[in-house]
Amino acid sequence: MDIKQCLFSTMTGVVNLQGKPVANVRLVRTINYNKDIVDETVTDENGAFEFTAVFRNNYAGKILPMEFVVSQLIIAHHEGKEYEMWAGVKRKPEENAESRGKPLVVTCELGLEELNYKGVDGSPITSLCTWDAEPDPIRDYSLFEEDNED
């Protein structure tokens, strides 16, 4: 029984620097799920880019069900500098899990001083990007500690 799993959903978007779209930014994507899959693209004159989705077939026959844990990384190369534009861990095999089922459309700002963190349906993503997806609520664990019984 083969099951198609999405390792990285199709991502379209724009790369900005100080709010202005930047052309010719080299974007290198590395996906790791037991092995590295690397590809790259370059932003066009409008700062726009697209990475198409990457899938794998999860073949039957293994003895243990394996956790779905995929490392996603996009490094932006611009004028001799490197930026961690997207560093996520995909935890759901469905396509567009990174954006709760909607197409993944990002706006990235290389000039950000701090990396954004967002958990989306259990997948934690650190990035220089914003996209339309409600973040997972941050839990307050201190409220859930057990009482000191006996």
Partner: protein, 381 residues
């Protein structure tokens, strides 16, 4: 009691995968720092000293997981997190190996033990940090095969620290004596074994491996259906089922414990037993019931590591046959149930039983269970 909540421990069991898979150090630190709001730091000083902000993929953890030190309200607590790894899987259904001696001297699965021992040098380093940081409480946490490693880690540390063990969908780790020892030492108040009713992984390795805790409370979560269902092994199914419930609430899901009288009645039942998950649960309880009766009379045997696990069990049961009439009757009833489940005509008298015969029946049953579990696991999601 300094146990931590189901929500915190199940989230950590999930996040050990995320943090150890995160492609950059920043991404790993963000998961820890933002999600847990500064409640933890990594114990690995190499990690803390690692260059931050560098985009190069940083190997942020050792293969098994990592150690977190509690901050603020969690000062004095350390959390040792283990991730499941596919590398251990092949060992699970291979029983033609001698069991190995664990740190407490009791026999455990050789594959898990080897794997745990390979982590020892790293864990020894962490132990020095625990001493330096004046850690009092150690929480060993793991999902799947990581649960087996967390169990061995708790076994290793429990007489040095106030140790808590939390496992989610863990396979069985050791033989009866191991489980009995660790349960007695830690008590079930410090052992939190969480499993979905239909998760197939806790069904393996089959007997004579026995779960920890061997008796007392465990945390059985409902999942749909009656057949083994691999999707209920996934960690996110566990975090969802656990949700924000307390241990007290989760303990209420447990089906009623089979007490000794019920088990004895089941063994004596005239109706033929058939193969099902429910029958296997009964049989597992009955095995422990019979073993306890034998152990109460037979002094602790020096079983060498040269026995395979099946030899060990057959040896102990055969011992019971030879000792006292009342024991041999319980062994006979147990073997009769095994034969019924196998679709064989049960033997009538204990005189027909000897070690080889018992071993043969147990091996056939084990082969049957393995076939069923493997078939279920092939339909993985």
């Amino acid at each position: 009691m300094s146990r931590r909540s189901p929500q915190l421990t199940s989230d950590l069991a999930k996040d050990v995968y995320d943090i150890s898979t995160a492609p950059t150090l920043n991404a790993a630190l963000n998961i820890l720092n933002i999600k847990y709001k500064g409640s933890f730091t990594f114990a690995d000083s190499n990690l803390l000293n690692a260059r931050t902000g560098g985009p190069a993929g940083i190997k942020i953890s050792s293969a098994f997981g990592f150690v977190l030190l509690g901050q603020g309200a969690l000062a004095g607590h350390a959390f040792i997190l283990f991730r499941g790894t596919q590398l251990l899987a092949d060992w699970l259904t291979n029983f033609n190996v001698a069991p190995a001696r664990s740190d407490s001297g009791y026999l455990v699965h050789d594959g898990f033990n080897k794997s745990f021992n390979s982590m020892k040098p790293k864990l020894e380093e962490f132990r020095k940090i625990l001493t330096k940081e004046k850690i009092k409480f150690v929480h060993c946490i793991g999902h799947s095969l990581g649960g087996a490693l967390a169990t061995l880690c708790a076994n290793w540390l429990q007489n040095k620290y106030s140790t808590y063990l939390y496992t989610f969908g863990s396979p069985r780790v050791g033989l009866y004596d191991f489980s009995n020892y660790l349960t007695a030492e830690m008590t079930s108040k410090r052992i939190y074994r969480v499993y979905h009713k239909t998760d197939p992984v806790p069904m393996i390795p089959t007997w004579p491996f026995v779960h920890v805790p061997e008796s007392g409370q465990d945390y059985w979560l409902p999942s749909p259906g009656v057949l083994p269902s691999p999707e209920y092994h996934a960690m996110d199914k566990y975090t969802t089922s656990v949700s924000t419930n307390s241990w007290g609430t989760l303990s209420g899901y447990r089906e009623a414990h089979k007490d000794d009288i019920q088990i004895a009645q089941w063994l004596m039942e005239k109706t033929r037993a058939t193969f099902s998950m429910n029958t296997l649960r009964w049989l597992g309880n009955a095995l422990i019931y019979v073993l306890k009766k034998i152990k109460a009379i037979v002094s602790a045997q020096q079983i060498t590591g040269q026995f395979t696990v099946m030899d060990h069990l057959a040896y102990v049961l055969a011992k019971g046959i030879n000792l006292v009439e009342v024991l041999s009757n319980w062994v006979l009833l147990f073997i009769r149930k095994v034969m019924e489940i196998l679709g064989l005509k049960p033997v009538e008298k204990s005189g027909e039983l000897n070690k080889d015969f018992i071993r043969n029946m147990l091996s056939r049953l084990q082969a049957k269970i393995n076939t069923q579990v493997e078939a279920a696991l092939r339909y993985q999601v």
